[in-house]
Amino acid sequence: MEKRFLAFCLTVALVIGFPFSAMAGPDAIHIGATVSQTGHFSSEVGPFKRLMTSWADLVNDQGGIMVEEYGKKLPVKFTIYDDKSDQATAKKYYERLATVDKVDMMLGPYSSPLTLAASTAGENHHIPFIAVCANSPKIYSRGFKWLVGVIDLGPRYTYRYWEMIKTEGKAKSVAFVVEDTIHPLGVFKGSQKLAEDAELKVLSSDIVPANTRDFTPIITKLKKESPDIVYVSSNIPFAINFMKQAKEMKLNPNEYHCIHHSGIFKDALGSAAEYVIGQSYWVEGMKLGDTQLINDVLKKADISEPRYPWSPAYVAAFQILQKAIENAGTLDKGKVVQSLKNLKMETVLGEARFAETGYGSINTYPSQIQGGVYKVIYPPDVATGKHTYPRPPWE
C-alpha cells in the first residue's frame, strides 16, 4: 500500500512538475563573444568587454529580454574571451563558446579576418552569429545560413564620401595608398570604382605591405603626381605613420581621406590630423533619431566615441540581438536566426535589415576633424558641420 502511494505521488509530481519545469526554461540568455583585448586590434576595441557588459546591465536592470515562450523576461549573460587579435585564437574561442559554454547566440569579433575564421563555429554548430564590425564580401559569399552582419559591405564603406565629392564637383583626381590587409583592400576596391563613377581621375594606387613604416618613396611619387585627394585605405597605425611623414615631406593635396581616423589617430598626429576626413558611424549631435542608448551604454562603460568610433555599431548590434529574440519569442536557435533574417528595424544608426547573403545595411558617414572635433559633413540632413575643401596647406 505504502509503495503504491509513493508511486502515485511520484507520478503526480512528474505529470504536474514537468510542464512547469519546461516553462521555467533557462535562467538567462547566454551570449558568447570575443574582444581583441590584446594584440593590434586592441587599439580599436580593447575595452569593448565593458561595452557588452554595460549594455547587459542596462537591459537586466529592466528585467532582461522578453521571451514569450517562457512568459517572462530573461537576463542577458555574456561569456567573453580575449581573441588576442588573432584568427586562430578567435576561431578556438568561438568553438569553445559553441561546444563548452553552449551559448544561445554569438556576437562576432572585431574585423573581417577574425570574423572570417570565427563565424564557421556558428555555422557548424547551428548557432545564430551576428557579425558586428566585419564587412569583407568574402565573409558573406560562403552561403552561411547562421550568419548576419550589422554593417554594409566593405566596398561600399565610403560610398557617402564619394557621393559628396560627386555632388560638390570640386575634386578632379585621386591617388590611393592601400594597406595590404583584407579590410583596407576591400574598401579600396569599392572606392576605386566609386571614385571613377564620381568622374575622378585615379592617378595611382599603391598597395603597400601592412608593416611598412617608411613612406618616403610613395610620398615622393605623390608629390610628382599632385592629386587633389590622397586616399589612405588602412588601419590606424599605418595611417598615423603615413600622415606624419606626409607632413614632414610637405605633401599638400587638397584633401586627405584616411578611412580610420579615430582618437588614437588624432592624438598621435596633433595638428597634422586637422582637416583629415575619415568615416564615422555616429558623432555627438548627429540628427539620426533617438540615439540615447548610445550615450547610456558609452557612459556606463566609460568609453568615448571619438576614441572608439566602432562603439555605436556594437550598440546597434545589441539592439538587433534583442529585437531578434523578442520577435522570435523563443531561444530556439533556428527560429532566432529566421527572426534575424526577417528583421527590419530602426536602430541607433538608422534602419537595419539584412541581404539574403547576410550582410547588413548600416554604413558610415564622412567626418572631418575640425578644430580637434569630428564633424559629420554629409549628407546635409544628418551633418554636424560643413566640408572644408581644400584644406589649408602645411607651411
Binding site: 605591405p209 608593416n211 618616403t216 618613396p217 610613395i218 615622393t220 597605425p237 605613420n241 614632414e248
Partner: protein, 290 residues
C-alpha cells in the same frame, strides 16, 4: 641626377640613420658577449614608451628623453645580464650562442606580454615634429637628420671610449679572447655586464627617437630585432662603423627598391642584401676576418 632621385637618396640615408642607431647596441652585445639578444627590439620599444611617458606626462622633449633613458636602462641592463646571461656566460661559444637565443627569446616574449597587459595604449605615437628643411627642392626631415647626427656622434664617442678608456680596452680585449682577458686580470663578468647595459641603453635611446617618427606597439620587438640583425650582419659583427654603414646601405636600398620596383619589394631587399653579403663577404662589410 633628377630631383626625385636625390630626394629618395636623402630619404634613404635618413632612414638608414634610424636603422644604424637601433642596430648599434645589438652590434656591441653580439660583438663583445657573443650573445644574440633577441630582446633588443623590446628594449627599444620600452625606451619608446618611457620617452612617450616623459613627453606626455612631464613635457620632456623626446631628444632630451633620448639622453635621460640611458642611465635607467643601463641599470636595467646590468640586472638583466646578472640574472639571465651570467649563468650561461661560461659556456663554449657555440653553446653560448644557442643558449642566449633561447634566453633572450623568452625574455622578449615575457616583456611583450607584460607590456601589452599593462600599457593601456596599444598603439603609441607622439605628435612631435620639427619643421622640415628644404634645399634646392629636396625636403629634408629635421627629425631624421637629428637622428643621423646623433648616430654619427654616438659612433665617434663609442670609438673613443673603446680605444682610450680602460673599460673600453677591456671590452676589446674580451672580444679578442675571453681566456686571455681573464689571464691579464680583466673582471670579465663586470665588463660584460657593462657592455650589455651599454647595448641596452643604446636600444632604449634609439627608442626615444623612434617614437617621434613611427607608431610603437608592445608586440613590435621581434620583427625589429630581425631587421636590425640584418643591419649588423651587413655591416660586420661587432663593428660600430659597420652597423652605421649597414643601416645607411639598407635604408637607401629599401627606399630605391620601393620607388622603382614597388613598395611590396622593399622588405625583401634586406634579406637579398644579407644573402649577397654572406656569399661575397661572410664577415660583413666592416667585420674583421677570423
Amino acid at each position: 641626377m633628377s630631383a626625385d632621385f636625390i630626394q629618395l637618396l636623402v630619404g634613404g640615408i635618413l632612414l638608414g640613420g634610424i636603422y644604424g642607431l637601433a642596430a648599434f647596441g645589438l652590434s656591441i652585445t653580439f660583438g663583445v658577449l657573443n650573445v644574440l639578444n633577441l630582446a633588443h627590439g623590446d628594449f627599444l620599444m620600452l625606451g619608446s614608451l618611457l620617452s612617450y611617458g616623459l613627453f606626455v606626462w612631464l613635457g620632456i622633449n623626446p631628444f632630451v628623453a633620448a639622453i635621460l633613458v640611458i642611465p635607467a636602462f643601463m641599470v636595467l641592463g646590468v640586472g638583466f645580464y646578472l640574472l639571465l646571461l651570467k649563468p650561461i656566460a661560461d659556456k663554449p661559444p657555440h653553446q653560448l650562442l644557442v643558449a642566449s637565443i633561447l634566453v633572450t627569446l623568452g625574455a622578449s616574449l615575457f616583456i611583450e606580454d607584460i607590456t601589452a597587459y599593462f600599457w593601456e595604449r596599444p598603439v603609441t605615437g607622439i605628435s612631435y615634429t620639427l619643421p622640415p628643411m628644404e634645399v634646392a627642392g629636396v625636403v629634408i626631415s629635421s627629425t631624421r637628420l637629428l637622428v643621423l647626427l646623433f648616430i654619427f656622434a654616438l659612433a665617434c664617442a663609442m670609438q673613443l671610449y673603446l680605444k682610450k678608456t680602460f673599460v673600453g680596452k677591456s671590452i676589446r680585449a674580451i672580444v679578442q679572447g675571453r681566456e686571455g682577458a681573464k689571464v691579464v686580470g680583466i673582471p670579465i663578468s663586470r665588463v660584460s655586464a657593462l657592455a650589455f647595459s651599454i647595448g641596452m641603453a643604446l636600444a632604449a635611446s634609439a627608442g626615444a627617437f623612434y617614437v617621434t617618427l613611427f607608431t610603437v606597439t608592445p608586440v613590435m620587438g621581434i620583427p625589429l630585432t630581425i631587421k636590425y640583425l640584418c643591419v649588423v650582419v651587413l655591416g660586420g659583427l661587432g663593428s660600430i662603423v659597420g652597423s652605421v654603414f649597414g643601416g645607411l646601405i639598407l635604408g637607401v636600398a629599401e627606399t630605391l627598391t620601393a620607388y622603382y620596383c614597388g613598395a611590396e619589394w622593399a622588405p625583401t631587399i634586406a634579406f637579398v642584401l644579407l644573402i649577397l653579403i654572406l656569399i661575397v663577404r661572410p664577415e660583413g662589410l666592416f667585420g674583421a676576418k677570423k
